[in-house]
Subunit: 297 residues, 2 copies
C-alpha cells in the first residue's frame, strides 16, 4: 500500500504542476519577475499532501478528476504562499526550504512578499473559474471555505498565535492543539472536505472527512515536531531544532518524545476509524495516515 501511496503522491504532484504550468506562464514585461518567483515557490517538489487529499476525497464521490485538480492546485497555491511568507526574515527567518534557498534568499524580500500575495490571489481566481466546477454554488462554497480556512480565523490567525507564543508565555496542550488546528489543520481539513463539497456529498460523509482530516492534521503536525527534534537538515531539507531554540511549546516538548509518538499513532488510527463508511476507494486516505507519522521528510 505504501508503494501505491508513493505512486499516487508523485502522480498528484505532476498533475498539479501540469495544471499550474500554463496558468503561471511567464509574461514578457518586467512583472515577469513576480511570476518567476511564484513558479519557484510552487514548482518546488513539496509533498503535495493537500492536493493529494483533494483528489482522494474527490475520488470517493466520482468527481471529475480534471476539476478536482484545479481545486488541488488552488489549495497548493495557498499552502505555498503561506510557506513563502512564513519563511520571511520578519517571520521565521528561514534560509532553507525543501533543500533549496527560500524564496526571499533566491530572489529578494520584496519579491517574496509580492509572490506570496499573488499566489493567494491566484487561488481564488482559479476557484472562481467555471472550469473548476459547473455549479456556481459549489464554486462559491469552495471559495468561502478556503477563505475561512486560510484567513484570520484559520491559518493566518494560527500563525499569529504561533508568533506570540514564541515571544513568551506558556501554552498547555489544549492551547497548542488549537494553534495547530488553525495554523495547519484548517487548510488540511478543507483539502479533505473539498472532494465532498465538489461531489455534493451528504452531511454524514462531510462530517466523517472533517473528523478524519482533523486527526490526520494533528498527527502530521506531531510528526513534524518530532522531525524537528530528531531529524537532520539533510533528511528534512530545512533547518531542524528550531522550535527548541526558539523556546516554543510544541506537543513534543509538552508530552515528551515517547508520549508524543504514541499520541501521533493514536491519532492516525482515529483518523482511519472516521473512514469506516467508505469502501476500498478510501484506501489511499487510510495509507496516508500511516505515512504521516512514519515519514522522515
Amino acid at each position: 500500500m505504501q508503494a501505491a501511496l508513493q505512486e499516487a503522491l508523485t502522480a498528484t504532484s505532476h498533475a498539479v504542476e501540469r495544471v499550474l504550468e500554463p496558468i503561471l506562464a511567464v509574461p514578457p514585461g518586467s512583472e515577469a519577475r513576480v511570476v518567476e518567483a511564484m513558479r519557484y515557490a510552487v514548482f518546488s517538489g513539496g509533498k503535495r499532501l493537500r492536493p493529494f487529499l483533494v483528489l482522494a476525497s474527490a475520488n470517493l464521490f466520482d468527481v471529475d478528476r480534471k476539476q478536482a485538480l484545479r481545486v488541488a492546485a488552488a489549495i497548493e497555491c495557498v499552502h505555498c504562499y503561506s510557506l513563502v511568507h512564513d519563511d520571511l526574515p520578519a517571520m521565521d527567518d528561514d534560509d532553507l526550504r525543501r533543500g533549496k534557498p527560500t524564496l526571499h534568499k533566491a530572489f529578494d524580500e520584496a519579491t517574496a512578499i509580492l509572490a506570496g500575495d499573488a499566489l493567494l490571489t491566484l487561488a481564488f481566481e482559479i476557484l472562481a473559474s467555471e472550469e473548476t466546477h459547473g455549479d456556481p454554488m459549489i464554486r462559491l462554497e469552495l471559495i468561502k471555505s478556503l477563505a475561512h480556512a486560510s484567513g484570520h480565523q484559520g491559518m493566518v490567525g494560527g500563525q499569529m498565535i504561533d508568533i506570540r507564543a514564541g515571544e513568551g508565555g506558556s501554552m498547555d496542550e489544549a492551547a497548542v492543539c488549537r494553534l495547530q488546528q488553525m495554523k495547519t489543520g484548517a487548510l488540511i481539513s478543507f483539502s479533505a472536505e473539498a472532494g465532498a463539497i465538489m461531489g455534493h456529498a451528504g452531511k454524514k460523509a462531510r462530517h466523517s472527512l472533517q473528523g478524519y482530516a482533523r486527526d490526520l492534521g494533528l498527527a502530521f503536525q506531531i510528526a513534524d515536531d518530532l522531525l524537528d527534534v530528531e531529524g537532520t537538515p539533510e533528511e528534512t531539507g530545512k533547518a531542524t531544532g528550531k522550535d527548541a531554540d526558539a523556546g516554543k511549546a510544541t506537543l513534543v516538548s509538552l508530552m515528551g518524545v515517547e508520549r508524543a509518538r504514541r499520541q501521533a499513532g493514536l491519532l492516525a488510527d482515529q483518523a482511519i476509524a472516521h473512514l469506516a463508511e467508505f469502501d476500498e476507494r478510501a484506501s489511499l486516505l487510510r495509507a496516508v495516515a500511516h505515512f504521516a507519522i512514519n515519514r522522515r521528510t
Copy 2:
C-alpha cells in the same frame, strides 16, 4: 457640487466602516492581535475613493445600497492590504501613512505581513457571501474581476514593475502609464465597474465606466505624483519627495510639472466625457474627476 462630493465621501467612509465593524470584531484568543492590526489598517481615515466609485456606479443601475457597500468594503480591504505590504521595510519602507505610523511601525513587521494577508483573504470571503448579491454568477464575476485586478496581472504585477524600475533602467511615458494602469488603475477600474456588474448593466455602459475609470485613475496618479513633488508631509500625511529621491520615473518627472498638470486636467475632462450617456445620477462621478486633480491630500 464639491460640497455634495465631500459629503458623499464622508458618508461612504462611515458606511463602509459600519459594514466592516462586525466582520472585524476582535476575537478573545491571542490571534486578536492580527485582527487589531487589520482594524488599524482599515479604520484609518483614507479617502475611500474606491468604495465611493462602487457606490456611485451602483447608483446608476439601481443596485441595493447595502449590497454595494459590501463590495465597497471588500475592495477597500484589498486597497488597505496593498498599502500595508507596500509600506514594509523590504518594499517602500514608509514610516508614515495618513499622518499616522504605518502598520509595521505601530505593531511589527510580522503582524503587518499577516494583517495584509488576512485582509486580502477577507475580501474574497465577503464577496462570496450571499449577503453581497442574490445572484451567484454575479458574485463569481466580482471575485474573478477582483482577483484579476489585484494579482500578478494587475496590482501586484504593477508593484513588481515599480520596484524594478526603482532599481535602475529608464522608463518612457508609455511604460509608466502601463505600470500605473496595473498598479493602481486596475483596482480603480474594477471599483467603477463593480456597480455595473452588480446591476447587470449592458456592455456599452460597462465599457463607458471602464473608460471613465482608466482616465480617472491616471489623472489621480498624476495628481499624486504632483503632490509628491509639491506637497508637504503635513498636507499629505506621508513622506514627500520620495520618487525623486529614489530616482523613479513618474509622469511628472518625464513631462515636467506644467505639462503633467495639463495632462491631468485633460484626463479628468476625458473621464467625464465617457459619462455622457448617464444623466444627473452620474454627477458625483463627474465631481470626483475634478476632485482627483485639485485635492491637496
